[in-house]
């Protein structure tokens, strides 16, 4: 386990190097959070839509902005670089599972970026007036379940991102691969528009895909849009998705690595 801790620490330190990037990230997240709240308030016009109130919507948006780095589906950069420049072959020399290494590198990068950014946004948004600011979690138990599901969500986000690594093996185009995966996940996972604002038939259908368990589930547990009992069941489902995506990812990446090595990179 210590080697994964090492990988994680390296990523964290790396992230801290880019101070200006973090600060500007915080400022822009905050700004756009505000814009989104105005936008959806205008759409919702009445004070609630199927039990989703303005104040819940505002909290949903602020959580999304605070944990942007955690739920944003990018490209694990180390992995894609190594694939494109062919260094991936050297990975076989190291006594470490390649999928795991990339997984933890990317998780580390995400956690570091999140830890650096979420706090200022949370603090400022809590201070905003009702219907515009972040409210407290509905209950202590909801808050605990929120933390658990958020962490699982972050891991699920990484395990789905790993499919763009697989696509990079196939297409040799990291940019295009990441864009396609992150767009699908963004639309179907509620980061393009909050899922509670979608037509109800679509909301129902999205329950059967993994994407909404990344951030939609934890946020809705926090604001009380999903009750404790439902939350427990859905956390169970998200763990199931996590296991499925990791297994599938391991399989696909092992397969394409073998192919790469045989072809000589």
């Amino acid at each position: 386990m210590s080697k994964y801790y090492g990988i994680f620490k390296m990523q964290f330190k790396g992230e801290l190097q880019y101070r200006a990037k973090a600060l500007s990230g915080i400022a822009t997240q905050f700004f756009w959070g505000l814009m989104y709240i105005y936008l959806y308030t205008a759409f919702m016009s009445s004070s609630s839509v199927d039990g989703f109130t303005l104040s819940q919507m505002a909290s949903y948006i602020w959580l999304g902005q605070s944990f942007f780095a955690l739920r944003y589906m990018g490209m694990p950069k180390h992995a894609s670089d190594e694939i494109v420049n062919g260094n991936v072959c050297y990975k076989f020399i190291r006594p470490i599972n390649i999928y795991n290494q990339w997984y933890f590198e990317y998780l580390g990068e995400k956690l570091a970026a999140t830890l650096l950014r979420f706090f200022p946004i949370i603090v400022i948004s809590v201070l905003l007036p009702t219907n515009y600011g972040l409210s407290m979690a509905v209950s202590g138990s909801a808050f605990i379940l929120f933390l658990i599901s958020l962490f699982i969500g972050g891991m699920l986000c990484v395990s789905i991102s790993m499919f763009s690594v697989y696509l990079t093996f196939v297409t040799q185009s990291p940019k295009g691969s990441a864009a396609v995966i992150s767009t699908i996940a963004g639309l179907l996972g509620g980061s393009l528009i909050p899922i509670p604002l979608m037509p109800s038939s679509i909301q129902y259908a999205l329950n059967f895909l993994p994407f909404r368990y990344i951030s939609d589930l934890p946020f809705r547990i926090y604001i009380g849009n999903i009750g404790i009992n439902d939350a427990l069941i859905q956390i169970g489902i998200s763990i199931l998705w996590l296991a499925i995506t990791i297994l599938l990812g391991q399989l696909l990446i092992r397969k394409s690595l073998k192919k790469t090595v045989i072809q000589g990179g």
Binding site: L34, L39, S173, S177, V180, G186, M198
Partner: protein, 259 residues
């Protein structure tokens, strides 16, 4: 003309990687469609926002996509300025006897954006047809100046970003998020936002000058003053001037720190 040569070189270069270019084009169209879908979903649920229906928003989306992609295609050099500095390419440009802006334009031309330019135009046309505009000569002129103004404003934002990256060397999310975020949020009428935000995006970064205001004129939005809306793109285009001044000052600083 020198720019022609740059253009041909980029053509040749990207045709060396046809497959990759095709993939990137495909993924970009894919993203566009997903974003249109998101807007459509919102309107499915709520039908209108302010005085806007789906097709008015779609028109604004079409305009933004077109101008944003045109600017990205031809002015990517500013957008990726941090890379230009890091790789030493910018030093290389400084030792050529050609205007520096001309060279930055020539340094990057992204053919793969062509797919999005076309998509933007197609979407604009569909929206215009569905809205059923009573066309006059003025409206056509305003529409054309809207596209021009849009390119200038986005270019201005890129140039500011480039100027900032001279100080920070990092490619900041800042500019990306401003430009991308602007894209996402400016499909909707600007008066739904807080009045200070609306003023900010009209008078400081004049996004409204190439979407809400001229589109209001074209579709005949009663909430606005027609003649003011009609000339807004001309005023918005002036945004480029302070951006250029800022950039030129930043280059001076580069020359004295040489990062």
């Amino acid at each position: 003309m020198l720019y022609n040569k740059y253009f041909k070189m980029h053509m040749k270069s990207s045709f060396e990687y046809r497959f990759n270019m095709f993939l990137i084009s495909f993924s970009q169209v894919f993203i566009c469609i997903a974003e249109i879908l998101a807007v459509w979903l919102l309107f499915q649920r709520f039908e209108t926002v302010g005085s806007w229906g789906f097709y008015e928003s779609l028109l604004m989306l079409g305009i933004i996509y077109t101008v944003y992609s045109i600017t990205e295609c031809f002015a990517r050099g500013y957008d990726e300025f941090a890379k230009l500095i890091k790789s030493g390419e910018f030093d290389r440009l400084l030792i050529r006897p050609v205007n520096i802006h001309y060279q930055i334009f020539g340094s990057r031309i992204e053919m793969s954006k062509a797919s999005r330019i076309i998509l933007g135009i197609v979407v604009s046309i569909i929206a215009l047809v569905q809205i059923g505009v009573d066309w006059t000569v003025w409206k056509v002129l305003v529409l054309i100046s809207t596209y021009l103004c849009g390119c200038l404003v986005i270019l201005g934002l890129f140039i500011i970003g480039a100027g900032i990256s001279i100080y920070t060397i990092e490619n900041l999310e800042f500019v990306n998020i401003i430009t991308n975020g602007c894209k996402e949020l400016s499909y909707y009428p600007i008066n739904i936002y807080n009045k200070w935000l609306a003023r900010f995006f009209t008078f400081i970064i004049p996004l409204a000058c190439f979407n809400y205001l001229p589109v209001s004129f074209i579709v005949g939005n009663p909430a606005t003053i027609p003649w003011l809306c009609a000339i807004s793109p001309l005023l918005g285009g002036l945004f480029i001037i302070p951006c250029l001044i800022f950039f030129n000052l930043s280059i001076k600083r580069y020359q004295s720190t040489g990062t």
